[in-house]
Symmetry: C2
Amino acid sequence: MKGRLTARQNEAYEFIRAYQRRHRKPPTLQEIGEALGIRSTNGVFKLLQALEKKGYLRRDPGAARGLHLLDTEDPFALTDEIPSLPVVSRTASHEPERLRTRPVAFLSVDPFFLPRGLDPDTCLIGRAGDDGMSGEGIFKGDLLLIEETPWRTLNNRELVACLVGELLLARRFVFANNRIHLQPANRTYLEEVFPPDDPGCYIIGRIRAIFRRLP
Amino acid sequence: MKGRLTARQNEAYEFIRAYQRRHRKPPTLQEIGEALGIRSTNGVFKLLQALEKKGYLRRDPGAARGLHLLDTEDPFALTDEIPSLPVVSRTASHEPERLRTRPVAFLSVDPFFLPRGLDPDTCLIGRAGDDGMSGEGIFKGDLLLIEETPWRTLNNRELVACLVGELLLARRFVFANNRIHLQPANRTYLEEVFPPDDPGCYIIGRIRAIFRRLP
DNA sequence: TAAGAAAGTGAAAATATTTTTACCATGTCA
DNA sequence: TGACATGGTAAAAATATTTTCACTTTCTTA
């Protein structure tokens, strides 16, 4: 990167950047042209050549959408796909086997919320069914990003999502004296204790993130 | 939709569905083929024809990626783009004019969090700078989806994000007696009161959503 | 002020990518 | 057996995208 950019070149550069953010892939010459009001793809072509010569851009000659911005060191890789996670339906949610069947929706989740390459296929979204964890800032209706995992792999005091009595709940998980303790963070709720493998209590996995839409 | 699908047809159907979720557009025949282990695009082509005949699929003949699943009535339109919103940097954040310059990152946000076609270009992401709204489940470090809007357009008791003393804060907004009141939801914090247009207090806009990544 | 760079227009040519067609083979199943 | 599903090869057709060519306009600047 060396040469200074002209105003127009900068516009093109910024457009490519913005386009990539939104579409997670580079634009075509036509799309750039439309955005900048350039009717001829050749006009765009020359802009790109200039950007390339000045070292802001690399092109794969001939390839469709073969543009690569060079300086960009965005904290999040732009090429990552955005995982789309199933939102478990309320009605199906009290049967562990059916957690992933008939999701009511899908939610696109930025990879930022899946730390260290956590596999999106092991994750799902559930809604908190009560205010039992309001002390931890989780309210009824909040969307929980859940990493499905067997309860044996959990550490004590992790936040977990579980199915108890037809409800999907957030709770603090503690395993002690061969009992699973589900601790609320709200004085009006009671701790619940289950023997392992009690059919009335199914631990889905650990909560990795919380999303709340305000009214 | 009528005919029953064969196992293979179902695989193709499900793949298209999954692909659409992730890429927000239909796959090409080749991509389907790769996924199902079919070397010839023609093999795929026939699968698609079968799906179309059975009424599971509509095709735009000749068009690239011209596939449309028919039963899919997902609550969220799959064709929506996923907006990518700037995350304001902490250092630049105490100068209102620089809110959008030098974002530290971008976060892809599902349109679900932008109700009623709220323009993504008016939104940005900030981090809560203190625990002043812990009573409302907003903690220091939480990501706030902020709809930028002049404070005059706000209703009383809305949750807002504001810049006060080098910090980006979440507060409850009340305008009364020609004063802006910023009310915390945490007994250890105090209500702050400013005259309108006090340079020490800038209201960025209303908070539309909250995202929290757990450790 | 003449030369050169930047920015364009419009059309045509060249490539890439994707879909369609034609034809062949195998297996299943009523 | 005959209809249908599955899959393969190869090539043709259609579409999408990039590249080149010829020529214009508008600045900048030595």
